[in-house]
């Protein structure tokens, strides 16, 4: 209740006292976002098995046909079924974004907690380094890494990890700093607990909320980076059914055959929107939980 209902902080305290605890309402945005995200995750796992056609099968007699019963979302210039390609592409995008985020968040959390808890020169140096890394616009840093390592899926994932580490480290560090001198951590220091115990048992369980929210935001950026890199030809390479790549390759035909671009574009936007919704909802929900816990 730092400055929330400051007007009657004193009297509102009572509000939190009743023994009967009402369950907190889960924000609508979290439900919608979570549902769509789960849908995409399921699609990513089973996608390749449920498509009507293999994603790279050419149908030379049906090139650039509009959506029909046979080809639900139409076909591209080689007569490949766009529905099959978009569904197959889900696993590529979701796994690339997910793995990149996982790498970035894991390393970022470790660095952030270590830096924030240790403080002093170590912290100073680590934070200067993140400053430098964060001086690159995310997409450009990813492009730089891919340029150095070579353009393919694995390197695109690595580049996402590299872009995220400093940002996650920053967020986690500031959350850790907030707990560094809090009394239960000091109580552990007085007991003589080890540094690892304090970081992982006392601090980490209390900074999950910001980490979860940050992960969600990162996931939406990761999707954005994945598709942008492949759009620029720096991610997945043809004939991979990557959404960004599909847009890049078929864009020339979009005036005559808008459906070639429409399907992958909608998939991208829907996935990013749902991650953002989930992130917003989680933030709201966790904030509400925090106030009712105090």
């Amino acid at each position: 209740m730092s400055n929330g209902t400051a007007i009657t902080a004193d009297d509102a305290k009572v509000v939190e006292q009743p023994a009967v605890k009402k369950p907190r309402r889960v924000p609508l945005s979290m439900i919608i976002g979570g549902t769509i995200v789960s849908f995409f995750v399921v699609l990513a796992i089973i996608g390749p098995y449920v498509t009507p056609y293999p994603f790279d099968q050419f149908h030379f007699k049906h090139r650039m046909v509009p959506p029909s019963a046979e080809f639900w979302l139409g076909t591209d210039r080689y007569g490949r079924d766009i529905f099959s390609r978009v569904v197959s592409g889900a696993s590529l995008t979701v796994f690339m974004a997910g793995t990149g985020t996982f790498i970035g968040v894991t390393i970022g959390v470790l660095i952030g907690m270590f830096s924030g808890y240790t403080g002093g020169w170590v912290d100073e140096i680590l934070m200067r380094l993140t400053d430098i890394a964060m001086s690159f616009p995310g997409l450009l840093l990813a492009m730089l890494v891919v340029a150095a390592l070579g353009a393919n899926e694995v390197n695109a994932v690595i580049s996402i990890g590299v872009v995220f580490v400093p940002k996650v480290a920053r967020v986690v560090r500031s959350a850790t700093l907030g707990l560094r001198h809090i009394q239960f951590v000091e109580a552990a220091q007085v007991r003589g607990e080890s540094r690892a115990y304090i970081i992982f048992r006392e601090i980490l369980p209390n900074i999950w909320p910001p980490i979860i929210v940050e992960t969600c935001i990162r996931l939406s950026y990761a999707v954005l980076l994945v598709v942008s890199l492949s759009y620029l030809g720096l991610g997945a390479q043809p004939p991979a059914p990557d959404w960004g790549l599909m847009i890049a390759k078929e864009r020339a035909f979009m005036v005559t055959a808008p459906w070639v671009v429409f399907a992958p574009a909608s998939a991208i936007v829907l996935l990013i929107v749902s991650f953002n919704l989930l992130g917003d909802g989680l933030r709201e929900w966790l904030a509400a939980r925090k106030t009712s816990d105090e």
Partner: protein, 698 residues
Amino acid sequence: MSDGGGGGRDVLTIRDLDVTYFVRGQEVKAVRGVNLTVRAGETLAVVGESGSGKSTIAFTTMRGLDAAGRVMNGSIHFHDTDMLALRPRELRAIQGSRMAMVYQDPQTALNPAFRVGDQIGEVVREHTEMRGEQADNRVLELLGGVNLPDPAGVAQRYPHELSGGQQQRVLIAMSFACNPELLIMDEPTTGLDVTTEAHILDLVANLKEQHGSAILYITHNLGVVARFCHRVAVMYAGEIVEEGPVSRVFSKPAHPYTRSLLTCIPKLDLSKHDRPLSAIEGQLPSLSDLPTGCIFAARCDFAEDACRATPPPREQIGDDAEDTVSCHRHRELPPFEFERHIRDVDQARADATSDGALQVERLKCFYPVRRRIIEYVSGKQQKFVHAVDDIDLELGRGRTLAVVGESGCGKTTLGRTLVGLQMATDGTLTFEGNELAGLARDRGPDLRRRVQIIFQNPDATLNPQRSVGDAIARPLELFNLVPESGRAARVTDLLRSVNLPDNFADRFPHELSGGQKQRVAIARAFAAEPDLIVCDEPLSALDVSVQAAILNLLVDLQKRSNTAYLFISHDLSVVRYLSDLVAVMYMGKLAEVGTPEEVFVPPYHPYTEALLSAISIPDPMIEQENIRLEGPVPSPVNPAPGCRFASRCPRKMTVCETQEPPLHEFSPSHRLYCHIPREELDKMRPVIRYAGEETAVV
């Protein structure tokens, strides 16, 4: 100041006020059926603990209730104006000019982005015809009026550049910008040092005298009420349970809640050897699910079935129509008596002196002031904050040494160094032959186990993600005190020893009240079977009724375990109650040490004298000297030679500014550092006396 303020016109009339908050689908009935009248020239106190609804009344009157709060019933009249019916424009004409407010936390009540002069000037320009230079001059006049030195300089400052006391003066200056007819003060001195509090209260009393404003004073501090107000309304859980002139309420309290409030705060003449404090058991009722009968019945010692069945009517006692109480049994209560205890100074001294298990010798703790890189390169000398500067103390097994002083005096640093949260710069700490050196993790496990700490803020003291049982069991595991099979049983024992039910082991901190959390923290400290516990202001965040229970618990546990306490506090009454020895600190230096019976009576250190004079005592039978500290607080960074207190000392001599004060040893336990010759110190008059006597209250 206890008698009626001379019945001027009614400035504020509140009738049958009900205010409800709508929070997450619940209706919290924060204020119910409140009637209040404030007259011109009068100060009405509304006193109560957290959750009593007192601040809600203040903000409802100002029409500053937040969006979740709504007035369900009743009226508020300012003179003849119906405050609840005003249109925004009419309301704005009253707010800030005819009716003004002073807030609890001045730091957050001022906008950090604007100069304070501009923030006051805004009010002047909005509500008067003054413009340009005329308005600027008015701002300076107002700042001068609240005794701020160099008003022109202060006007140019930003809020963060001022101390808490100065910020509050700025807010007071702002509230008097248009000579308000009604001033609402919401806990204006909470969080300020006692010496600052005394200044602020003097100032407001003065301004009120000049302008004849009526004051509605919201507070939890009964001492301030006794000192500053004419009439008082006591609130409990949203209702006024008793109202009357301060002189009557404090001498013949009629409601059981008022009586408990008055007896649960430790007084300067009460020691742990006299009796346990009378705590109020139980918890505030839920305001969304109210009991049918008397709101206080569940916690009342005198409650009968009738009390639980019907709410008590408001009854007049005495001649005054506003001298009322709401209690079924107020006529049947035994008479309320003030106690007096006979003091045996020698016995107290014998109790205090002992083997000296803890020895603090020439302890210094300095913090380096951060230098910029350029300053490193240019070889500029490192500066230090002298937080603790050359202190000698001694504490025996099973005894309590209290350290008192204003914020920033170094008392917390002393405690943190003891438990190893901070490094000592110089000097030694010995505990029963073992040196307490360095940080906690550098000390051996046995030494670490024997020295524990209890913190100030109950909300931060427990890890929110860990159950109460786990928190208490951790020291048992870490120090190998109890094998794993017996831990659960030991946790239950510990919970019982702090008067918590067994099933609390499975609860999480957010399910506990502040007092309960503090009990768990105490159980956790005692789980390590320590010989010394540093208590860093463990009571200051708690309501007085809860404070009393925790104090009793600490006394009880000490008797049983023979653990020594280093008790850090700013509250002289609590210190007097709990301690065997008192150390008064000022700016990192020791001013005076002794038993309470020695420190709280003359001869005093001038600083002790000023502290005693500044505290507010809720007892009409007591007289108090009026000593105020003027002069600037010196910087703790590389302080100048001489007595640290010299800049503010009312008894300063020239030698004080250049030489360290010498030590006077009045007894083996009573030491005092001051330049004033012994004969003069001996001639000092008691600061706090029983009315009409020369005996010091102790």
